[in-house]
Symmetry: C2
Subunit: 401 residues, 2 copies
C-alpha cells in the first residue's frame, strides 16, 4: 500500500468535475461537483443519525440500500435540509437531470447537499450546474470536484493510494469536506471514496462501517451532528482484480487500505477544523471496555474548557481530569493517570512531579497526544480533536452574512 | 414574597465575612469567605455528579447527610480537587480551624473550594484566611463573602427575599459564584442559601432538590460539569416562625420562595457567563414527557453552533433544528416548529413566511426566547444559556496565566 497522486479520479474508470453555478456568493469558488463511474458500481454508505435528516440523505440512503450506483452529484452552499416536500421533489429532479447524461436511471445517482439549512435550492442554478458538470467530466477532474464541495474548509482534501491485490494494482481515491459541525457519527461532512476494486455490496458495507467507526466517528470539532453527513464508497471493478472474498488475504489488505484512507481523511478534517491551530489525539486506556474509553475520549475532546486550554497552550490537566470525571463512565479517582506525550502530569488522581515548562513546551506543538488511564481494564479508545479559538467563534458568528 | 436588600446575612442570626489571604494573585480581590449561624442549623445540599469529586465536596456531602451544621467556609483561587489524600487531610484541618471559633465540632462545618484543579492548597495562607474571617464576621458581611467566592465572575451575586409564614416574617438570602464550567447537574458553581425559617432536614432536602432541578440544573454556559459544584441551604429557625409542615400552606409558600430565589440566582449566573453578551431561554414543548423536552433544550442550549449564532445575532434557525435533531429524542421532522419570541421561523419542518429583519431584530436584544415544538405531547422543558463569544475563548485560554 502506497500513497499516490490525486483523489476520486485516481482509480480506473472514474471521471469528475467541479463548476460554479451561483450557489455561493463568491464566483471565484466552485459549488457543484459530479463524480461518475464509466460503468455501474457497487455503492455503500454511512449516514448521520440526526432525526432531521435532509432530503438528499434520505434519497442516498435508499440508493445505498439497493447497492448499485453510477455516481454522485454534490452541491455546496445550500444543504437542502429542513425543506419539506419541496426539498424531496428537488432531489428527485436533480437525480433525473444527472441521469439524462448516461445509460442509467435517476435511482442510480446519489445526491448530497451541504451548506445553509432551511432554504430551498435555486433549481434553475442547480440544473445549469449539473449541465456544466456533465459537460466537463474528465479523468483529471477530481481536484475540481474536491474544491466544489468545500464550505468553510480552507484546504482541498483529497488523497489516493494504491495496493496490489492478487498481483493486480488496485487504487482507492477520496475527497472530503467538513471543518465545522463535526461530531461523532458523522457531521456536516461529506466524504466520497472511489475504488476500482471488485467487491460485493454486503462486504463493502461491512468494511466501510468498520473504517468509519475508527476514523470519522472518532473526530470532533464542535460536537454538532449535522443533518447532512455521509460517507460513500463506490467500487467499479475496473482494476480487473479478482473479486475480494470475505476472509481472504486480499480482504484484509483492502480493509487496511480503506481504514488508512478514512483515517487520513478524518485527520485532514480535524486539522482544517474551523479556526483550528492544534491537532490533539486523546488516547484512553484502562477502561472496562472500548466503548467506555471512547466515551471518556469524546468528553475530553469535546470539552470547551479543554479545547480553550489547547488553544491557550496551557497544560491545565485538571480540566482533562474533570471532563473524564463527568463523562458518565464510572472510575475511581485514585486510578487516574494523565500524561502529555511522555510527561506524567497526574498519577493516582493527584498531581505528579514534572516541570511546568516541559509540559508547556509540548502544548506549544501543533500536534500532541494526551494519554489518560483510569484503571487496569483492557479497554482503549482514541479521539481526534482541534482547539477552540477566536477564529472558530468568528467563522460561526458570521456564517450566513 | 418580596425582594429585600442583602444576601446571606439578610435572614436573622447569620453573620459572614470575606478576606484576602493570598490565594489569588491580585490583592485587590478577596479569596476566603465564612458564613456562620449564631446557632445550629438544619442543612441540605445538592452536589456535582462528577466522579472526580473534590475532597471538600466529599466532606460537605457527609455534613449534609448528618443534616446539622453551623456554617460554611469557602475559598476561591484553588479548588482542592484532584489532590488525593493530602487534599482530604487539608479539608479536615480547615474544618477544625473554623470549629476553634465556637461551640461546635469540625463535623458541623461545611467546606467548599473553587479555582484551579490539581494544586495543593497553601495551608498556611488558608489558616490565616480562616483566622481573619472569624475576626471579621458581621451582620453586614454578606456582600464581602459573596465577593470572596468569585473566580471569573464579573459581578457579585447575592439576593434576598422576605415572606410571611403564619404571620411572622421569614427571610431567605443567597450568594453564588460561577460563570464558566457551567452545566446541568451543577457546575463550577457554589450557591449558599440561608434562611431563618424552621424546617426539618428531609423536607428541606426535598425542597432544595426540586428548586435546583428547575434552576441550576437547567442552565448551561459551556456544558462542563465541575468537580466542585454545590448548592447548600442553611435553616436556623431564628425567625421564630412555627416549623414548616409538609403539605401546609406555609410549605407551599416557602417552596415557592426557595424556587424563585434559586431561579433568580441561576439566571444571574448565566447573565454573567464567561464572555456572555446574551441571555437566551430555550423553551421546548410537544414532547412525550418533560425529560425529552429538557434533553432537546439542553442540546440547543449547549450547541457551539447555536451559541455562536446567538453571539453573531444570526436567526439561523437551521442550527436550532439541527441540534434538536441530534439530541437523541425521536420526533418527526414534519412536526417541528421553531419560533423566535412570536415570530415563527419554521413550521412543519420547513421554512415559514417571515421577514428576516424582524427575526434579526429579536436576536439583537440582550435577552430573548426560542420556542421549539416537536409534536402534540404534553412534555415541556426550559434551558437558560448564554452565547459563545470571543471573550469566552480569551477568558479560558488565559485562565492560569
Amino acid at each position: 500500500m502506497k500513497p499516490i497522486e490525486g483523489g476520486v479520479t485516481a482509480p480506473e474508470g472514474f471521471v469528475a468535475s467541479g463548476v460554479y453555478a451561483g450557489l455561493k456568493r463568491n464566483p471565484e469558488k466552485l459549488d457543484c461537483a459530479l463524480v461518475m463511474s464509466e460503468c455501474e458500481c457497487v455503492v455503500a454508505g454511512t449516514f448521520t443519525k440526526n432525526v432531521m435528516k435532509a432530503p438528499p440523505i434520505l434519497w442516498t440512503m435508499e440508493v445505498c440500500q439497493r447497492g448499485k450506483a453510477w455516481g454522485v452529484f454534490i452541491n455546496s452552499g445550500n444543504a437542502n435540509a429542513a425543506t419539506g416536500k419541496q426539498g424531496i421533489a428537488n432531489v428527485k429532479e436533480m437525480a433525473a437531470f444527472v441521469a439524462s447524461c448516461g445509460p442509467f436511471l435517476p435511482s442510480d445517482v446519489c445526491i448530497c447537499s451541504t451548506g445553509v439549512i432551511g432554504v430551498l435550492l435555486p433549481m434553475d442554478k442547480i440544473e445549469n450546474g449539473i449541465d456544466d458538470c456533465i459537460d466537463t467530466l474528465s479523468k483529471t477532474g477530481g481536484t475540481q470536484a474536491a474544491r466544489a464541495i468545500m464550505t468553510t474548509d480552507t484546504v482541498v482534501k483529497e488523497r489516493a493510494l494504491e495496493l496490489e491485490l492478487g498481483g493486480k494494482p488496485v487504487k482507492l481515491g477520496a475527497m472530503a469536506k467538513g471543518s465545522g459541525m463535526i461530531s461523532p457519527n458523522m457531521a456536516t461532512m461529506i466524504c466520497v471514496v472511489t475504488t476500482d476494486a471488485t467487491i460485493e455490496h454486503d462486504l463493502l458495507t461491512t468494511l466501510l462501517q468498520s473504517a468509519v467507526n475508527q476514523s470519522f466517528n472518532q473526530i470532533g470539532i464542535d460536537n454538532d451532528m449535522s443533518t447532512s453527513d455521509v460517507v460513500l464508497v463506490f467500487a467499479n471493478g475496473e482494476s480487473g482484480a479478482a473479486e475480494i472474498q470475505a476472509g481472504s488475504p486480499e480482504y484484509a489488505q483492502f480493509a487496511e487500505a480503506l481504514m488508512a484512507l478514512c483515517q487520513d481523511m478524518a485527520k485532514d478534517l480535524v486539522k482544517d477544523g474551523e479556526g483550528a491551530t492544534k491537532f490533539v489525539e486523546i488516547s484512553i486506556t484502562g477502561t472496562q471496555n472500548d466503548e467506555d474509553a471512547k466515551t471518556i475520549a469524546r468528553a475530553i475532546g469535546n470539552s470547551m474548557l479543554c479545547k480553550t486550554a489547547f488553544f491557550g497552550q496551557d497544560p491545565n490537566w485538571g480540566r482533562f481530569a474533570c471532563a473524564a470525571g463527568y463523562s458518565g463512565v464510572i472510575f475511581s479517582p485514585e486510578d487516574l493517570t494523565v500524561a502529555l506525550e511522555d510527561i506524567v502530569l497526574c498519577r493516582n488522581g493527584q498531581v505528579a512531579q514534572y516541570r511546568e515548562e516541559d509540559a508547556a513546551a509540548i502544548m506549544k506543538r501543533p500536534e500532541f497526544t494526551i494519554h489518560v488511564s483510569v484503571g487496569a481494564g483492557a479497554g482503549r479508545g482514541i479521539f481526534w480533536t482541534s482547539d477552540l479559538s477566536h477564529d472558530y467563534v468568528s467563522i460561526n458568528a458570521d456564517y450566513r452574512s
